[in-house]
């Protein structure tokens, strides 16, 4: 009798573990430390908030969603390890990451493990040109960004253009793309094309050299910490050339680093900022975020990570499955004009987001980011 009881117990335990599906886990990979740590930590805040909201509404497939976050340190080597850790923890999908070179190091690991990846800030073109079935992104691509950048430079009437990047996958890709487009435009000449070393403090040697090339505008395709320093040191040199940045300069810390008077007049390309998002979903989200954390989100990439989270949880709910092939198929083909926080979301066959997203912003005298018409 006793023996029978144990057999029954063992069987029920075994069956139990088969039928009680694990709670769906969504991975979040972002730079929680390193020089982009402010981006990653905000990504986590957004994902936590959205998971909380979703769980309050009953969760996913009758279970509570769990967000598993891993730190990629903004560094490709750390990212590969983070991706392996996430892959072994049985996540259905991973949201992230921010930097393109970091993303690139993790892509194949997710693809081999059949885990859906939805990048939020990795805009380099070649990431989606590899034919990876499980790779998606909510941010736009750099070829579109370069197109908008070149158009803006032409529209503002600049003739001699200097292009400066920082040799990261993203910045170099954007710089190359912009250079090719600008060279095709009549009357526009590239007078300077070089890379700086990110993470340094003193760029006066570079600025001195840049000044002797005498450009009408400098297009800097790197990230905001360096952009802020460049603006500050340029101001100190009393050099009034306008600067234009790519979407990685879009961060309020840029103005803090440069100082308001040095940042004024800086143009940058970006997906619309959180405050300029028109949709009802975005307004509700911003309110909830401010309520929970005391300030609105600083970075659009954190909000784009939120969109990644919402899209994948929507897909899981709609398909009623956590099978990566079904989910990838749903995201590629079924989802159309999903009401995202940053506008309507559909994915093309490469996993890129459809539609034009980029806008041009200018920093005003008060250091605010003003959407240019």
């Amino acid at each position: 009798m006793k023996k029978l009881f144990f057999v029954a117990l063992a069987m029920s335990l075994m069956l139990g573990s088969v039928y009680a599906a694990e709670p769906p886990k969504i991975g979040l990979m972002g730079p929680m430390t390193g020089s982009w740590a402010s981006e990653g930590q905000e990504m986590k805040q957004v994902a936590d908030l959205l998971a909380e909201e979703l769980n309050a509404k009953g969760g996913l497939l009758g279970q509570q969603v769990v967000v598993v976050s891993e730190d990629d340190g903004g560094d490709p080597r750390t990212a590969a390890l983070a991706a392996q850790r996430l892959a072994t923890q049985g996540v259905v999908a991973v949201v992230g990451t921010y930097g393109s070179s970091v993303c690139e190091a993790a892509q194949n690991i997710y693809d081999e493990a059949k885990i859906i990846q939805i990048a939020n800030g990795s805009t380099a073109i070649r990431l989606s040109e590899k034919g990876l079935k499980y790779f998606f992104r909510t941010c736009p691509r750099d070829d579109e960004q370069a197109k908008v950048g070149a158009q803006t430079i032409e529209k503002l009437g600049f003739k001699k253009v200097a292009v400066l990047h920082d040799n990261t996958t993203y910045a170099k890709g954007l710089a190359d793309e912009a250079k090719a487009l600008l060279e095709g435009k009549a009357g526009i000449e590239i007078v300077f094309f070089e890379a700086i070393t990110p993470g340094e403090r003193d760029y006066s040697a570079i600025l001195t050299k840049l000044k002797s090339a005498n450009p009408d505008v400098v297009f800097f395709t790197g990230y905001y910490p360096e952009a802020g320093l460049l603006l500050r040191q340029k101001k100190e040199m009393n050099w009034n050339v306008p600067f234009m940045g790519g979407d990685a300069t879009n961060n309020p810390d840029l103005v803090k680093i440069a100082g308001k008077d040095a940042a004024a007049g800086f143009y940058f390309l970006s997906a619309p900022l959180p405050k300029d998002l028109p949709s009802e979903e975005a307004k509700q989200f911003l309110e909830a975020f401010s309520k929970k954390y005391g300030n609105p989100p600083n970075s659009i990439y954190a909000v784009l990570a939120g969109d990644g989270f919402r899209v994948i949880t929507h897909a899981i709910a709609q398909t009623g499955s956590t099978d990566p092939d079904k989910l990838a198929d749903y995201l590629h083909n079924e989802i159309k004009d999903f009401p995202g926080l940053t506008g309507k979301i559909s994915f093309n066959e490469k996993g890129d987001r459809d539609g034009e997203v980029y806008r041009v912003y200018e920093v005003n005298e008060e250091g605010q980011f003003i959407l240019m018409p």
Binding site: G199, A205, P225, R232, I257
Partner: protein
């Protein structure tokens, strides 16, 4: 020609900072034969402590910009010196009799620990020094433009380095430090308390690194917890260039590295300026394996 002199001043200002940090590497190496990888993070701590003291005590409002910054510098030096001494006590002293590699691993660990401590205390976002603490005026001379603060940074670095040099050469404590650097066992036999000498080294080196952090904060404005890595690497290179273990060598190496970088960026390629600087380092090490002014060479690590 104008550009040459402009780049020379750019390079000297950067090099002055490298030199100050390099002194910390070279002093510790001279006495302990240990490369203190946590030194770059002590530099970061200096920058952050400077910011905290500056904003919380409003020294520059009470004392005027120059006296205020001077008092601030002394406070930062004292505090970072204490952190350095504590680091020695906790991370290095227990390993004094162990193989040298253990201490190096401990140094790497201490570096990661300090960096993440700064991140946990101050947060991961960039911190910014208040602007307009120091006057923004610049000197225009023969078409050159030189911000006043740059000249001050260079002068302050040279003054501090000279003070250190005389301290090491002319005072009794300095003699003890030099004696311990040559032979710890013999120094002990001569009645020198080697542990106190090492403590002294860990007070002085980090104090100079910390004040370099303060200078970077005051001048460049933007600081974050990873800033010690790049500066630490460059200063380490500068120390090797000048001859590690040699104090004038660190000064020469630092200034030279700053100038090589600026000239490399100006006349060859901006993207390759670090590569150019390292090529020069390799060339110098091939021709003079002990560095420019060095007597000894790192045997391991």
């Amino acid at each position: 020609m104008e550009q040459f002199f402009q780049q020379l001043t750019n390079g000297l200002a950067v090099g002055g900072i490298y030199a100050l940090i390099a002194l910390g590497y070279t002093m510790v190496y001279g006495v302990l034969k240990l490369i203190n990888f946590a030194h770059g993070d002590l530099f970061t701590i200096g920058a952050y402590l400077g910011l905290t003291l500056l904003t919380s005590m409003a020294l520059t409002d009470h004392l005027g910009p120059f006296a205020g910054v001077l008092v601030l510098a002394v406070m930062v030096m004292g505090l970072v010196g204490l952190v350095g001494a504590l680091l020695d006590r906790l991370a290095y002293r227990p390993l004094r009799e162990s193989p040298r590699l253990s201490a190096v691993v401990s140094a790497l660990g201490a570096s990661i620990f300090l960096q993440n401590t700064v991140m946990l205390i101050y947060g991961a976002r960039f911190q910014v020094y208040p602007q307009n603490i120091l006057p923004k005026s610049a000197i225009y001379l023969f078409g050159l433009y030189i911000p006043l603060v740059r000249i001050l940074i260079l002068i302050a670095s040279i003054v501090m380095m000279s003070a250190l040099y005389f301290f090491i050469q002319k005072t009794k404590v300095g003699t003890a430090i030099r004696a311990a650097a040559i032979d710890q066992g013999a120094a002990r036999l001569m009645g020198i308390d080697v542990n106190r000498v090492i403590l002294m080294v860990f007070l002085l080196g980090p104090a100079l690194g910390g004040v370099a952090g303060l200078m970077v904060g005051l001048y460049y404005g933007q600081i974050n917890f990873t800033m010690g890595w790049v500066y630490g690497l460059k200063a380490f290179t500068a120390a090797i260039l000048g001859g590690i273990g040699n104090i004038p060598g660190a000064m020469v190496g630092g200034l030279l590295l700053g100038v090589i970088e600026a000239m490399g960026a100006a006349y060859l390629s901006i993207a390759w300026k670090d590569a150019i600087a390292f090529c020069v380092l390799i060339l110098i090490l091939i021709l003079r394996p002990t560095g420019l002014l060095g007597e000894r060479v790192a045997e391991k690590v």
